[in-house]
């Protein structure tokens, strides 16, 4: 099956992008994703359970993520919880979105909407 062009998914909604970013840091279960997003954004973004699972379902359908076979140690394991991880396609989609945003940010800098970076890349 030929793989879909990652750019066809763009632009991502902020919620989807955050879910992908959270999973880029490793496999996580649903509650883990919520915690990660809250922590990473300093509480600016709070994912709600219903929203999260709508996103997870679609991401699974589009093969951007998979359910992980990995289980934690038995004493930590809650058998109701499934773990999710990024597929290579999911990673490329997240990269494409990040590049798109980077270009936007670059544009903002060149128009002096944002101060130019102090140091080089």
């Amino acid at each position: 099956m030929p793989e879909r062009d990652p750019r066809s998914f763009l632009p991502l909604t902020p919620a989807v992008f955050h879910v992908l970013l959270a999973l880029a840091g490793g496999e996580r279960h649903g509650y883990g994703i919520i915690q990660d997003v809250t922590a990473a954004t300093g509480g600016a973004v709070t994912l709600r359970t219903g929203t999260l699972y709508t996103i997870l379902k679609r991401l699974l359908e589009e093969s951007l993520i998979v359910e992980s076979e990995r289980r934690p140690t038995p004493e930590e394991d809650d058998e109701r919880r499934r773990y999710y991880g990024l597929t290579p396609l999911g990673r490329r989609v997240a990269q494409a979105e990040a590049q798109r945003l980077d270009q936007v940010v670059g544009l903002a800098r060149s128009r002096r909407i944002l101060p130019s970076k102090a140091g080089g890349r």
Binding site: F9, L10, P11, L12, T13, A15, V16, H29, G30, Y31, I34, Q35, T46, R48, T49, G50, T51, L52, Y53, T54, I55, K57, R58, L59, E62, D78, R80, R81, R82
Partner: protein, 887 residues
């Protein structure tokens, strides 16, 4: 909480697998647990947000679909309009003011007219007693053994016996009307009041605002000189002062102590009752009491009725006078004073509902037309990525805005209109409303809901369809799909026309009936004739002396400059007199079956010359005629013997026990409004005086206070334009300063008054019909105008192929007339059926009056032609070349 969330998910997310929902519930539990660490408030807030998020369910956009309108400024999904939508709606309404004004205007009119008429009808006809305990009270009706006849009111002794049934009733209270002469004001005054049993007000649940109610034994001898007054009288007489309680007012020459003041909203039984006196059932007073019963707690109405029926036998054997009569408990319904008035209100109610339906059909029509006009625009926008919900929401907002605008205007109109209606409506229609007539919230909501729904539904639904349509198709084919809309619109127009026909026919019948009434020769000369009505207390002027009193009064009036003739009677046409009824028996014939209603007037010999009523056969009444010598009207003479001349000398009587009357003369027909149906012009004139005996008693119910009144009318003929009222009153008071005087009115005013209900009904019906006609015409015009716009291309081709301007105009007009004809046909059938409902309102016009039934279709076809004319002209000016090139 966790379980509630699981349930919510099951409801809102059937698309997710049970395992996934299970997992979500676990996640929710974790989220909630961590939120709870931040305190109970945070936990609640989180739970609420989580539940709302779950409830959103599948109605969110696909998270992987890139947002289509990042700049739209409104969130997708929901139907509720954003501020931006409202701004757009206002802008659109301003851009298309004709459409906006029409929709809002129709809504406002429909809401206002309906609310006004239904509020008046509801207050007068349908609402129960407006007192706190009203719902627990039952009307007590006296029913004959067959159950067919009932009489309102129980004889006092019967009343007492039923009242003793304390195992059936918690309370049985009664009342009856009373009128009194009140002294102490600027002039003696006749006022309306009522006798009530002392327990009635507590049973109704109404308390005086000042003082107290009656004590249980008020009304007994020695304790009967007490009165409770209305708030209105309290203001008039005592300026609303607190010391009014304990003061004395004089009613019928007796001093009554004011013990209480009832609140302003208390109208019992009608709004013109100013005083209430205690009635007692222990003392036979002759007058019947209307009863209200409160059934014993724990007893159902049917159980109570069953017990009453069993008891009836036992009770009635002791009372042969009302043998076999029993009482029946019926729901309390405040009845209008007579069937004619409630019928008139019912007709108006039905009419106004028809108007409402026409308005709804028109709104629907407008909505469909509007959406058709925007079809291309909507299709293009849908093709360019506007979601359906976006388009629907936009039209929804626009129509909601118009509906709110129209609703607000309608409410304002209704508030003002109800006051106007009360002012304009005949007193008979409004005085009986048991509670103040005001806008009824339920009716307002009902009307608004109906009109809003039709405006919104038909405003939005086409947008829904348009946004689904394939854009290419919508842009290319101008008629496809529009065809279905066209049929819908034609159907709506036909409905509008049909309903208008029903209303117009009704209006035509009522107006024709009114015209007949107005144009009818009154049979006497009302110009310059003044009627002076007053009631003479029998104890103040007992029978033999009363004649002298009245003749003295007449002599005083005769001395007023300009007065040419004066005559004493007990009424003048359209006011006063008595009504006799019974089985008519003509001497030498068997008594007729069925009741004959016979209005009767007691008159002096000078009556006919004073009123200028011609004597067509025999002679008028002479001073020494016995009471049984009568003059009859031409129609009654015809009924008695077939001809006026032949009737002279005929003897007849009403009921087998009644006196025999001998016809001595025949008078011309006089129009009178005293019998409700106005079907009969029968009239009988009898002498008012007979030496050494009291005059025949016109209806003069004995009063509990032991005093009665006889009503007299003095007919005064004066030069036209003379203002006599004050002179006449002074003349009477010169004879007896305590004599209250009723109305001093020109006979012409009396005649007009007697027609006020007919006029009111005819005017309202006419206004409703006109409104419906305008709406229907507008609907027809709209459909045709759109048709022309749509078929411009086709018309161009036709004209290019040689069709004449005439042919094209015919095409359009034919279409309009076709729709009108279909509507007229349906409407006529409906009118034919509905006319029977009107029959009792009509005078001198058959319910299926050919002129009305032929005229209305002509009017409608005329209007249809007019409404088709402009579109047809527009069609005929189509330039074939331009129309074809435009394609």
């Amino acid at each position: 909480m966790i379980r509630a969330y699981a349930w919510l998910l099951r409801m809102s997310r059937p698309d997710l697998s049970p395992e996934l929902r299970h997992e979500m519930t676990a996640t929710f539990a974790s989220v909630l647990t961590s939120a709870a660490a931040g305190g109970p408030l945070a936990a609640v807030r989180t739970a609420a947000a989580e539940c709302a998020d779950a409830a959103l369910g599948r109605f969110r956009r696909d998270p992987l679909e890139p947002p289509r309108r990042p700049a739209s400024g409104s969130r997708g999904g929901g139907l509720w309009p954003s501020l931006q939508d409202w701004r757009n709606a206002v802008r659109r309404a301003a851009a298309n003011p004709g459409y906006a004004a029409t929709v809002a205007g129709i809504l406002a009119l429909a809401i206002a007219v309906n609310t006004i008429v239904l509020s008046v009808a509801d207050a007068t006809l349908f609402r129960g007693l407006p007192y706190p305990n009203g719902p627990q009270l039952w009307d007590v009706e006296n029913v004959d053994p067959s159950g067919k006849f009932s009489s309102a009111g129980l004889a006092p002794d019967t009343f007492a016996e039923w009242r003793a049934q304390t195992e059936i009733f918690d309370a049985l209270e009664g009342w009856t009307y009373g009128t009194f002469t009140m002294l102490g004001g600027a002039e003696p005054r006749r006022i309306n009041g009522a006798y009530v049993t002392p327990g009635l007000f507590p049973a109704l649940g109404v308390e005086p605002i000042r003082g107290r109610g009656f004590d249980p034994d008020d009304g007994e001898p020695g304790r009967d000189a007490r009165v409770i007054i209305s708030e209105r009288l309290w203001q008039q007489r005592f300026g609303g002062r607190d010391d009014a309680v304990g003061q004395v007012i004089v009613l019928d020459d007796r001093a009554f102590t004011v013990v209480g003041v009832m609140p302003a909203h208390f109208r019992f039984p009608a709004s013109h009752q100013l005083v209430w006196l205690p009635a007692t059932v222990h003392r036979p007073s002759g007058s019947r009491l209307q009863g209200y019963a409160k059934i014993k707690r724990g007893l159902t109405r049917d159980a109570a009725q069953a017990r009453l029926d069993t008891l009836a036998a036992g009770l009635t054997t002791a009372k042969p006078r009302e043998d076999g009569w029993r009482i029946r408990l019926t729901p309390v319904r405040h009845t209008a004073p007579n069937a004619a008035i409630s019928r008139a209100l019912q007709v108006l109610t039905a009419a106004v509902v028809l108007v409402l339906l026409v308005a709804c059909a028109n709104l629907a029509n407008l909505g469909v037309a509007q959406a058709l006009a925007r079809r291309r625009e909507l299709a293009i926008r849908a093709a360019m990525g506007a979601t359906r919900s976006r388009l629907v929401r936009e039209l929804f907002t626009e129509h909601l805005f118009l509906a709110l605008l129209g609703g607000a205007a309608g409410l304002a109109l209704a508030v003002w209109g109800v006051q106007l209606a009360i002012a304009l409506a005949p007193a008979e229609l409004t005085v009986w409303a048991p509670s103040e007539i005001r806008i009824d919230g339920r009716i307002l909501i009902f009307t608004a809901a109906l009109t809003f729904t039709s405006a919104l539904l038909f405003g939005v639904f086409p947008a829904w369809r348009a946004s689904r349509a394939d854009a290419g198709e919508a842009l290319k084919a101008r008629t496809s799909g529009a065809l279905a809309h066209g049929r819908l619109r034609a159907g709506l127009v036909i409905v509008e026309v049909a309903l208008s026909v029903v209303l117009l026919t009704g209006a035509a019948l009522l107006i024709r009936s009114f015209v007949v009434l107005v144009q009818q020769d009154p049979g006497f000369d009302p110009r310059g004739l003044v009627s002076v009505q007053f009631e003479v207390p029998t104890d103040r002027h007992p029978a033999p002396a009363r004649r002298a009193f009245l003749e003295q009064v007449a002599a005083e009036i005769r001395r007023i400059p300009g007065v040419s003739a004066v005559s004493i009677a007990n009424g003048v046409p359209a006011s006063g007199g008595a009504i006799y009824f019974g089985e008519l028996e003509i001497d030498g014939h068997a008594p007729e079956q069925g009741e004959t209603v016979l209005p009767a007037m007691s008159v002096e010999p000078s009556y006919f010359t004073t009123l200028r009523i011609p004597i067509v056969a025999g002679r008028g009444i002479a001073a020494d005629d016995p009471l049984t010598s009568v003059v009859v009207s031409t129609s009654l003479a015809g009924r008695l013997s077939g001809s006026a001349a032949g009737a002279i000398g005929t003897r007849f009587r009403l009921a087998s026990r009644g006196p025999w009357y001998t016809v001595i003369g025949v008078a011309g027909e006089v129009r009178q409004a005293r019998t409700m149906e106005r079907k009969t012009l029968y009239e009988m004139y009898m002498p008012i005086w007979r030496p050494s005996t009291p005059p025949p008693a016109p209806p003069s119910p004995a009063r509990a206070a032991g005093r009665s009144f006889v009503s007299y009318t003095i007919a005064v003929r004066a030069g036209a334009g003379a203002t006599l009222a004050q002179d006449v009153k002074q003349a009477i008071w010169r004879v007896d300063a305590a004599q209250p005087i009723g109305d001093v009115l020109p006979a012409e005013a009396l005649l007009a008054q007697s027609l006020s209900e007919d006029r009111f009904a005819a005017v309202l019906m006419g206004a409703f019909a006109l409104l419906a006609l305008v709406l229907a015409a507008a609907g027809l015009f709209g459909v045709l105008a759109h048709l022309v716009a749509q078929r411009r291309h086709e018309i161009g081709i036709r004209m290019a192929l040689g069709a004449s301007v005439r042919d094209v105009a015919q095409l359009i007009v034919g279409r309009g007339v076709g729709m009108a004809l279909a509507g007229v046909a349906i409407g006529l059938a409906g009118s034919w059926a509905a006319a029977r409902f009107l029959a009792s309102q009509l005078y001198g016009v058959a319910p299926h009056d050919p002129l009305s039934f032929a005229g209305v279709p002509l009017v409608l076809l005329g209007v249809a032609l007019l409404a088709s004319w402009i579109p047809a002209r527009r069609a005929s000016t189509v330039d074939p070349v331009a129309a074809l090139r435009a394609e």
